[in-house]
Amino acid sequence: MIGFEPSSRGAGVAGPARTRPQPAGRRRRARARLSGVLLVLCAAALWCDAHPIHLPTRQPQGGAAFPRRATDHPVLLAVRWETYKGRAPRTPAQRAADLEWSNVLTQAFGGCDVLATEEVGRDIDAALQNRAVLVLPRRTLAGLDAGWVSALRPHVSQGLVVVLEAPPPLWAKEMGLDLQGEEVVPELTWAPAPRLRAPTLDVPLPDPPPLPLPVRVSRYAPAASARALARPILDMGGRPALWRLDEGAGAWLICALDVGDLALSIRQGVPDPGFHLPDRYAGVLAGPGETNDLVATRSLLQADAPWLDAWIAALFDAELAPAPWASVWPAPLARDGWVLLTHDDDGWRDTSRWMTRAQAGRGAPSTLYLMAPDARLTVEGEGGPLADGAEIGLQARLPVGATWKDERSPRRRIGAWRFQPLAQLPSIVEQREGLVARLPAGTPLTLNRNHSLLWPDDVDRGWRWLVGAGFRGDSSYGPDHGAAGWLFGSAVPFRPIDRRGLAYPLWEVPFLWGDTDGGVDRARVDRWLRTNAVGGHGPVALLFHPDVFGETPSAELFRMWDALPELAQRRNHQLATMTALLDFWELRAQAHVRWVYGGGLLRVHVEAPAGAAQAGLAVALPLHWRRLTLTSWEASWQPAESRRSSSFGRELRLVALPQGAGELSANYR
């Protein structure tokens, strides 16, 4: 800084400047300080411009609810409403998993009604009219007095099957069992007997890996004084897991295992105490903060079979059931499963189109998740993905993880003119609206997958944001960083359960594999499809990034992707979009299949919703029940298209549902 001597200018007094050094020095120092401050401010401003301060984003807050459903469905889940009135638990082990049964029952039967026991108790006879199965979960049972047993008994005698999850001593006594104790088994052996296999096909279900997953097991023993004795019918790890007590035309099924907790832990993962997202697989899975950190146990990180599906199939196995149970087939009649080819655009510009175009050319529709609001993909027009029959979902960017503050993130800059030291990530709602604005009017945007599969540290928060933004479906659950397969035990759509045990009105559809980390080849996908075709028949959703094919091309990956439509065809899987799957799943839940069995004759009353025939909904009847075989069947509707299939080694007869109501008679000899 160049100074000057004001004293030599102001008063015109001549003299050497050094004779009055004090004032000049002060001013100089003041100026120097000012300059320094200005310099620091400038530097700070420049730095902030390059590294803005991020303001928190206000996200929408949706909520979970009690999913009351009273549609006269033959399967009823009765849950005690009181369970949800208390304070939210602090650890995952304490969360109420009773409503997870609605996911289990939907998977097994196609759907179920959900009512509060308080409502059922007001008029049990009315509530149980036309029901075939009633499920009373553990926490619900704990709050119900044994007087319910006598109220339920007449219905059981007339054919109702009541499933009791870990009944308390008084309930157990009514079943002729003594509760000898409860224990938490540190490792689930997963060896149900009779063992599930697919002996008729070329896919032996491999022995499941031991799952170091704590499972609550209630130990029962036959009560010496009991008049009617329940019999163990399913054994796990050498101990009874399922008991049956036949009574009249119906039965009581007693689960010694805590099925709801187990299913919830596997399907939705296990958060850390406080419902924090764990970093459980550090060293195995790079990149913390993703959904696959929730996976229940390490042995599920490479799961080539849907173990939860297998377990649910075992629980409701026709061989064990008191009657040959009918259910709604989880895929279109002609198909043994679903293949969903989904893509994350990752902001890779219009060139992403090639993938949807190529898939459309091979009859494989795409579900394409786009980033917003700066989506660089033109969705409209002749060459756009919508013209290829693709559906668009949002690839939401959440303010979580390590990279969301990067330059690439679509931040809103806040400041004056060019000086914008603040930044804010648009909320999911803004991102959704931004993408909707890019779509032709009326194009639905109801699907989401989080960019990089990131999930907030507070696990519930992720669901709340998505529900608050109005999404119908999400597919952020899935593997990354080398994991692959049915990490969450199943891939069928489910309603997430929050920490209090309530259900979010959102479908989560886990995917099996994303292409970013390799590790899966065509043979492995083929193995999955073969397993699924004789197993759970659910969706096999796969994630392909157009940019992975461009930025890190691989001939093997391309070959695999290119072969998938043909592979799906060969393994009899339906190629579909996420929306088509969810539409089917919701339609399936509306189909009511009610059965009455007696004297070798199974009478099935069917009420199918509009569009059921077009969607290919079908009823599944077991070909074998106990020592009887389905020898003939007759439907009141025509044409009643039919074929055989199997599920985890149990053969089934599938019959297409009619439009509206119909009667089906099946003879077992």
Binding site: I2, F4, S8, G550, E551, P553, A555, D562
Partner: protein
């Protein structure tokens, strides 16, 4: 006052210094952004007379003085293209010796042929009048069973044939007809072919059934049975014609104008700007090859011959897989992995910027080549900034030698030398052959920058074989040009690729050279492109076109040209011919003319004293027998039943 003046002086000095520093900073910043470009010219080396080949399978006679005199005019119209025959003979006969008739006479010819007679001898138009004894010696070759080709010969040379040509040459406009000498050539293949030659009207000529070509309605080439051999007389300048088709047509001063390339004239030119027939979008037929083969096949039908196959034994062509790296870096190795997994090899042309030693090592380990993608003069050119620290106000474009060095630094120790090139973005010099001269100066052996650019596909330079391009001196470059036939990111379709392979198998017998860019799925992604690449391996195998790298092909070609096939004896009845073959390297094959005019089919073959049944002729008109390395004696016996 003195003190105040001193203060003022100090202030002025400080202000001046500040202003100076500011100005310097502004100037520095300006030059930091817009550097001063330093010249960094490329060395050039013009083409020179071809080196001599001992005991050749073919002879090419030319007059160096006339070639040079024609070149001195500096006009493309006057350029003597006699030495274009070198490429024809190398492909169709084998090792070829070029004899300058100024320096060599009949004695040299006899010396050259003392171990056996060449299969073909060509007297090019540049020769003019030959010494009488040389003429006699040449006709003696034909009498003894060789094929003698006379291109626009002088009357004195032509006299024994009783064909006469008028001195006046004209520029024909249309190829009216071609004798059907090639069984696989599709009908009408020559229709619309550009005719870029001069022709002399015949004053006396044989009957029409001996004519091969008709230009503007008149015969322009004839074949004559000549005792045990044959003579072909060309009234047209075939060397010029082929050169124009292969190498394109520059302006008269050899400049090239960017008329229809994708970059636009201001960006520079591409070889595609030179194509002789710009109207042809999809070029299915390598017409220059068929034109040359028609001439040679007509002679070989009268003088049956044995040659070393221009392609490896058992193949119907080659699929020389090439990849332009385009600064995609080490990610390009997915293609070398692919080639290795398919049991094939390929050639990567790499820009020496992003690729690393790890990447090139992986490519070389997979058996692939890593060669140069010369990034010149384009908007993405290679630049070296010169200055101090971050301030680098000077810049120079890396010339070819710099880029070769840069690539060598990115190769592992012991890697093969950088001797092959494809220019990035196919940018060519504004002069017809300057690019080739620069490459020649850096000892490149092969270039593959010629080929179809935007919107075109196939044999746009009318050939599916490599050739020695001619310089403006009239001499051929030692390096080879191997035109590519398609690019996966331009006009491309796997069906077109399949058709190209099928046609090549059926007869054209080409060295098909595709370009599959390593970054195609990043820059022009489409499933059919990748699908086409993956299918190309099986499609090529199905059509008997092994997929290989350029170095593998060049190694084969080099070995073949190290060998020779000589005619040792032809009996008076022309039914029995003995050949001496020297075979170098693996995978070589002997090819015999399957029939002789008037004699019938090849009846038997005696190989090194043993008799073989004559195998059936391939569809492209040769009988092929694989031969191991070493000396072999072949006797071909004609006179089999049936008509050729």
């Amino acid at each position: 006052m003195v003190a105040r003046r001193g203060v003022l002086r100090r202030k002025a000095l400080a202000a001046s210094l500040l202003a100076l520093c500011g100005a310097a900073a502004v100037v520095a910043q300006h030059y930091g952004r817009k550097p001063v470009w330093l010249d960094n010219p490329d060395a050039e080396q013009p083409a020179e007379p071809p080196a001599a080949v001992a005991a050749p399978s073919a002879l090419l006679l030319y007059d160096g003085a006339r070639v040079e005199a024609a070149a001195a005019g500096g006009s493309s119209a006057q350029l003597d293209c006699s030495l274009a025959w070198l490429s024809v003979l190398e492909e169709e006969a084998g090792a070829t010796r070029c004899l300058d008739v100024r320096l060599a006479g009949a004695a040299d010819l006899r010396k050259t042929t003392e171990r056996g007679r060449p299969l073909v001898a060509v007297v090019t138009r540049s020769c003019g009048a030959l010494a009488a004894d040389l003429t006699t010696a040449l006709f003696q070759l034909a009498e003894q069973g060789s094929l003698l080709i006379l291109e626009q010969p002088d009357d004195s040379v032509l006299r024994p044939t009783r064909v006469g040509l008028s001195a006046q040459a004209f520029a024909p406009r249309r190829l009216t007809r071609v004798a059907p000498m090639l069984p696989y050539a599709p009908p009408g293949w020559a229709d619309g072919m550009p005719v870029i030659t001069t022709c002399q009207r015949p004053s006396a000529c044989p009957p029409d059934d001996q004519a091969l070509l008709w230009l503007d309605g008149g015969a322009a080439a004839w074949r004559l049975a000549w005792e045990r051999g044959a003579v072909v007389v060309l009234a047209c300048d075939l060397g010029r014609w082929l050169t124009a088709l292969w190498q394109g047509v520059p302006q008269d001063d050899f400049s090239v104008h960017g008329t229809h390339n994708s970059h636009g004239p201001e960006r520079g030119v591409e070889p595609d700007d030179l194509v002789a027939d710009p109207t042809r979008v999809v070029a299915w037929v390598p017409r220059a090859d068929l034109l040359a083969r028609t001439v040679l096949a007509s002679g070989f039908a009268l003088a049956p011959t044995a040659r070393l196959s221009p392609l490896p034994a058992g193949t119907a062509g080659l699929f020389v897989m090439t990849h332009d790296e385009d600064s995609f870096g080490d990610r390009s190795t997915f293609l070398s992995d692919l080639a290795a997994s398919e049991g094939a090899s390929s050639t990567f042309f790499a820009i020496p910027d992003r690729i690393t030693v790890a990447g090139t090592s992986a490519m070389l380990q997979a058996g692939c080549d890593v060669q140069l993608q010369w990034n010149r003069g384009s908007w993405l050119h290679q630049v070296r900034r010169i200055g101090v620290g971050p301030w680098r106000p000077l810049a120079k474009e890396l010339n070819l030698a710099d880029q070769v060095q840069a690539l060598q630094r990115r190769l592992p120790a012991g890697a093969p030398a950088v001797t092959m090139n494809r220019t990035h973005a196919l940018l060519w010099d504004g002069h017809w052959t300057r690019t080739l001269r620069i490459l020649q100066a850096q000892h490149f052996e092969l270039d593959s920058s010629y080929g179809p650019a935007e919107g075109r596909f196939g044999y746009v330079f009318e050939t599916g074989r490599p050739y020695h391009p001619l310089d403006v001196t009239g001499y051929p470059f030692a390096l080879l040009e191997l035109p590519f036939c398609f690019q996966d990111d331009k006009r491309y379709d796997p069906a077109l690729q399949e058709q190209l392979l099928a046609d090549s198998e059926a007869g054209y017998h080409c060295v098909l050279t595709p370009i599959f860019h390593t970054a195609t799925m990043q820059r022009n992604p489409d499933a059919f492109r990748m699908r086409g690449l993956l299918q190309s391996f099986s499609a090529a195998a199905h059509h008997r076109h092994p997929v290989m790298s350029m170095s593998h092909y060049l190694a084969f070609r080099h070995a073949r040209l190290q060998g020779r096939a000589l005619l040792v004896e032809a009996d008076a009845g022309r039914g029995r011919r003995r050949f001496q073959l020297h075979v170098v390297g693996e995978g070589q094959a002997l090819e015999l003319t399957p029939s002789a005019a008037g004699l019938g089919l090849l009846r038997a073959i005696e190989l090194d004293g043993g008799t073989l049944p004559a195998p059936p002729a391939e569809r492209w008109g040769w009988v092929q027998i694989p031969l191991p390395a070493g000396e072999h004696t072949i006797v071909a016996v004609y006179g089999g039943a049936g008509q050729p």
